[in-house]
């Protein structure tokens, strides 16, 4: 069952505070967070978070299409490297 709409999205208060502080300062910095359960809100777009995965902070650049997802979805706790082969990376 999904979360009741009347409650609004869940975000840990410290994440909101840190994001607000970073946005006000205008500095290009990584906001380290441990809250994988927090929902990504529209005001986080453009910020860079370091989401803890139990070992280290995984860098997550928040974009518009990530709104409504949880931070933890972008910070896997297991890593599979595989082979480079013909795989491409695009610089955005």
């Amino acid at each position: 069952m999904g979360r009741s709409v009347w409650k609004g999205p869940f975000v840990d208060a410290y994440v909101l505070k840190k994001a607000e502080k970073s946005r006000e300062s205008g500095r290009n910095e990584v906001i380290k967070i441990w809250s994988r359960r927090s929902t990504i809100l529209p005001q986080f777009v453009g910020l860079t978070f370091g989401v803890y995965n139990g070992k280290k902070h995984v860098t997550v650049n928040v974009s518009e299409d990530m709104i409504g997802q949880k931070f933890g979805e972008y910070s896997p706790t297991r890593t599979y490297y595989g082979h480079a082969a013909d795989k491409k990376a695009k610089r955005k």
Partner: protein, 176 residues
């Protein structure tokens, strides 16, 4: 062909059937694209194979390799890795790079200080990340592969100029 000019694109997992077909494991983004990169070379560069894919099978592809006509020959190749010439890979668009090219490049900051070496390229759904192995840090650092964080990628000199967000390389310059 020099080993630097080749990219590992697959491996032979053994024989498939009794008619000389092989069980092929493709490492390509699109597994069937491995046939487009033929001729494929053995690791030592001594043998080359043309590849004809016959069907998709569990955990891979069934394929015929030129010069392999019996099950015994196919079995003898079990475990062999297959390499494609770097020039066989398709041309890339603007701001696109092959992982194989990025891995091993030296990362410097805008002041020219060495930050580390690219160990892997990852994508967890929030854009590509360069995993940088910084010699002064315990763990690797994930650098976002964006124009803001990585303004310059010089393939010729194999160097990346990075302007990382604050706090990403914490501990690198303070002995921690």
């Amino acid at each position: 062909m020099a080993s630097d000019d080749r990219v590992c694109v697959g491996a032979i997992a053994g024989a498939f059937g009794v008619r000389g077909e092989v069980r092929l494991k493709s490492f390509c983004a699109d597994p069937e694209a491995i046939a487009d990169y033929a001729p494929l070379w053995s690791e030592d560069g001594a043998r080359s194979f043309d590849v004809t894919l016959t069907r998709a099978i569990a955990n891979g592809l069934a394929a015929r390799l030129s010069g392999v006509t019996t099950k015994e020959q196919a079995d003898a190749l079990k475990g062999a890795r297959l390499f494609a010439g770097r020039d066989r890979l398709p041309a890339l668009g603007d701001d696109e790079f092959y992982h194989a090219d990025l891995i091993g490049m030296v990362v410097l900051d805008t002041g020219g200080t060495v930050l580390g070496k690219v160990q892997a390229v990852l994508n967890h759904g929030a854009g590509d990340l360069l995993e940088v192995n910084a010699p002064g840090l315990k763990d690797t650092v994930l650098l976002p592969f964006t124009r803001a964080s990585v303004p310059t990628v010089d393939l010729a000199t194999r160097r990346i100029i990075a302007d990382p967000p604050e706090g990403l390389f914490d501990g690198l310059f303070d002995g921690g």
